[in-house]
Symmetry: C2
Subunit: 204 residues, 2 copies
């Protein structure tokens, strides 16, 4: 029996151990999404989610060790396992990246992201979960930069992770300062990469 | 007579018209600072500030049209009219800029800034006030970049405002992701400027 103390009239969903039950996971994420839509970010508590999803709090905590982890998982689930496409040239690839994230951040699910960043400023659990998520996305972006570097597109001794971090910082800055709807992704990619990309025909 | 409805037993400070009375302004900012320290950001309401400073709400609203404007003014007042120093080379100047802001953001007054950015994500008044503040700081930073450009330090056709925006984005990103205490300002300046600065001795 789950050790949680929050019992409601309806039968609880049963955990099937360490492996996640996809049906329960989906029910939990749906409940979390509904709570955020209805009550805002602060309406998302582990207790309220467990109750609405008819799941045990122990199950919730086993899969997501904190409210912050659940919040970031919710954002991640709605965004999907998107991998940014290598378009063969770094300015085009990064323009595509900015175009994709700016578009997603304007959807109802995407509007969660600046609120997660905001929450991370005063909640350590959220900050930790956001940190993990950022590292994962940074690795994806760094791989794209490294491939452009291997093609000879970038100036010598470019630190691909530092450049990926800068590309991401530029995206977050535009999000946090309300500029994603009015910024041209191609111009932004040009601005961040202006100094790094070698002219066509030259090599690193 | 001020038209506010919030009257308390003690005599109110009198406004002396459109010009700010420095004593009243200081009393208001002190009251605002104390409220934030005691009750957190949400404890800062125009009503609570007026009451504690024994000032009329009309006076507050005349000088700061919104709670957001007051919040940013409070941060600005504690930071002072700091202008970043041109150290004669852009990488050194920007290393100095990162070093200064990362240091300030770790002081009690500086810790207000990420909370203001967070608050701006769900409060339009705060977002507007932050936008004005950012534009002002961006102009200061752009001037430093332009001077380096005039000295021939940067690659041809550098958009000095876009580069200043990127330099600032990098600082904010490190702040919002909890990295300001562990980041080397000189390395960060190098990373953001790597592609832009011409080697010594060449010219744009």
């Amino acid at each position: 029996m789950p050790s949680d103390t929050d019992r409601c009239a309806q039968p609880q969903r049963r955990s099937i151990g360490a492996r996640r039950n996809p049906e329960t996971e989906a029910a939990i994420l749906t409940a979390a999404q509904e709570l955020v839509e209805e009550k805002g970010l602060r309406g998302l508590t582990m207790e309220a989610v467990a109750k609405r999803a008819r799941a045990g709090k122990a199950t919730l905590y086993k899969w997501w060790p904190s409210r912050g982890a659940l919040l970031v998982a919710l954002y991640h689930a709605s965004k999907g396992e998107h991998r940014h496409t290598d378009l063969g040239s770094l300015p085009e690839t990064i323009a595509g990246f900015y175009s994709y994230v700016f578009g997603f951040w304007q959807t109802p699910a995407g509007r969660l992201f600046p609120l997660i960043i905001a929450e991370a400023q005063s909640n350590e659990d959220v900050a930790d979960a956001l940190q993990d998520y950022r590292q994962e996305r940074l690795a994806d972006l760094t791989a794209l930069v490294s491939r452009a570097q291997a093609r000879g597109e970038l100036v010598a001794d470019t630190d691909s992770e530092a450049l990926a971090d800068l590309i991401m910082a530029n995206a977050w800055m535009h999000l946090m300062t309300g500029r994603i709807a009015v910024t041209d992704p191609a111009k932004l990619a040009h601005d961040v990469l202006r100094g790094w990309c070698l002219p066509d025909g030259s090599s690193a």
